[in-house]
Amino acid sequence: MQILIDTDSRKRRKAPGLFLLPGALLAPTLIIVFVVLLYPAACTIFFSLTDKTMADTTYSFIGLKNYSNLFSDPKFWMAFQHSIIFTLVAGSLNILLGFGTALLVNRAIPFRGLFRSLLLIPWVMPHIVTGLMFRWLYNDFYGYLNYLLIHAGLIEKPILFLVDRAFVWLAVILPTVWYEYPFVMLMFLAALQSISPDLYRAAKVDGANAFQQFLHITLPCLKQAFLLNGLLQIIFMFKSFNLVWILTQGGPGDRTELLSTLAYRHVFEGFSTGYGSAVATVIFLVLFAVSIVYLASPAIRSEEP
């Protein structure tokens, strides 16, 4: 009995100290995360329930009206469709190219380190540089792309990549893959290097050839990496904005309009903040839902510690 009382009093005395130190050291980060991430995100959700405009400081709560307008707006559905297609196509290409380059520079070749560094360059280039560079490469008179295509005999007259409705998606996805594949490559490289060489030795002893080793060791060991890269690509591509905005601003017409450009346009050009916020909230909610489903799925969970 004596001991029990002692225990309780000590616990009570200690409780504040338990949070004091971590609290003090975490405070700067937590405050920043709150001010620049959580609070703004909450505000956007709140704005989406109001009739706020760019100019007005007074606005009123209108419930889900923005959303009901949104869901009956064909432009929204088209942008949604564009976003999904863009995510799937660009994301898959990123994973394919990233995986391929990772396999290449994982082999023992001279100057391997240099090649790895070089292949990472597109990733560290600012998007504005990438975007403007590709605009120039697409140019109908002085662009390299048209020049090369004409000289290869593939086309007869220059293609207006950013204007031609048939080619504009290609023109947007190409630089997107160009800047994003190195990140995927990095993730796959790390995963490839974490596979124990003993597994390959064991497979060789068991008589597996190079292709069989790839099929029965490399691919199964990369399952986690594929799942993770899949999730990250869905997130990054679905919310991507910069390249499309720099290259086409959603055009020509609304041919390359994504949810992100639609939201931006409504808030900063169309001046209907509430409506634009609703679009931004939809992006956020979709990503949130995808992440939850992904992280809760047995495939990911099974191998977590």
Binding site: L18, L21, L25, P40, T101, I109, V124, M125, M133, F284
Partner: protein, 281 residues
């Protein structure tokens, strides 16, 4: 027989090397031609048969850039904003990563995951309210608001990187320092910072690179050239008045990209290691 097999081996190696070389050149082609073009005189740029490297190299485009009043201003703005962002990020992330790695308290795992999950927040979602705050607080077109906005992506990734490095830091050293009489700030100052200097620098540099490349916030939250960073600056100049000056475009690109590539190459080992380490466990 053995020499035949050896031949095959060497041949495979050579083919593989050529393959990697080919893929690298192909992928870097846009960057290579841009770099080459930045040294071309006007006449070579605007020709129907473009070349990769200039026949008569010239620094004309670079001279022109530095004679434009805006461009040095953009560079300075970017430098100050990215530098201060990196500084704040290093301090905050260091304290946070220390706490998240070496202390035990309820809710730690939740906070760690929450910081990581913020990576999912679309920038478009954040920029809307940030614009209105800045407007209300009269911070539009200021360094402060851009630094704040940049923290939204730079800080979580830096905490993530540093926490990853610290996990490999021997716990016994922290214990020894505590027995030697250090408080947490002394442990960070005397033990963690000196031992983890490369990792901490790498996280800081990475924040700098991210802030240096940032586009959307700078585009939205600035009004004049006074505080515009290089990304927004290029957006306005090269999509506006200087739309077709490709010499200017490629030279500016080179100036912006070169420091980033050098910084990244120097610390690549740490940045790449830290980024991929925790995520693939």
């Amino acid at each position: 027989m053995t020499s035949y097999r050896r031949m095959i081996q060497i041949l495979t190696q050579v083919l593989l090397f050529c393959g990697v070389l080919g893929v690298t050149v192909l992928l870097l082609f846009p960057a290579i031609v841009a770099f080459g073009t930045s040294f071309k005189p006007m006449g070579e740029i605007f020709t129907q048969t473009p070349t990769i490297f200039p026949h008569e190299p010239t620094l004309a485009a670079y001279k022109k850039i530095f004679c434009m009043p805006e461009f040095p201003r953009f560079l300075l703005n970017s430098f100050i904003i990215s530098g201060l962002t990196a500084l704040i990020v290093i301090i905050a992330a260091l304290l946070a990563a220390y706490t998240l790695t070496f202390t035990r308290f309820p809710g730690k795992k939740f906070i760690r995951q929450m910081i990581l999950m913020t990576y999912m927040f679309p920038a478009v979602t954040l920029v809307i309210p940030l614009y209105f705050f800045a407007h209300r607080l009269d911070l539009l077109d200021s360094y402060q608001i851009l630094i704040f906005a940049d923290l939204s992506f730079a800080l979580p990734i830096a905490v993530w990187l540093m926490a990853g490095y610290f996990e490999k830091f021997p716990l016994e050293l922290v214990k020894a320092a505590r027995v030697d009489g250090c408080n947490p700030l002394q442990i960070i100052r005397h033990i963690i910072i000196p031992v983890m200097k490369p990792g901490i620098t790498a996280a800081g540099i990475f924040s700098f690179i991210l802030a240096w490349s940032e586009y959307l916030f700078s585009l939205t939250l600035t009004l004049t050239d006074e505080s515009r960073t290089i990304s927004a600056g290029m957006h306005y100049c090269l999509m506006g008045n200087y739309r077709t000056d490709y010499g200017l475009l490629t030279a500016a690109s080179t100036i912006i990209v070169i420091p980033v590539v050098i910084l990244f190459a120097l610390l690549q080992k740490f940045i790449v290691g830290g980024l991929t380490e925790g995520s693939l466990k």
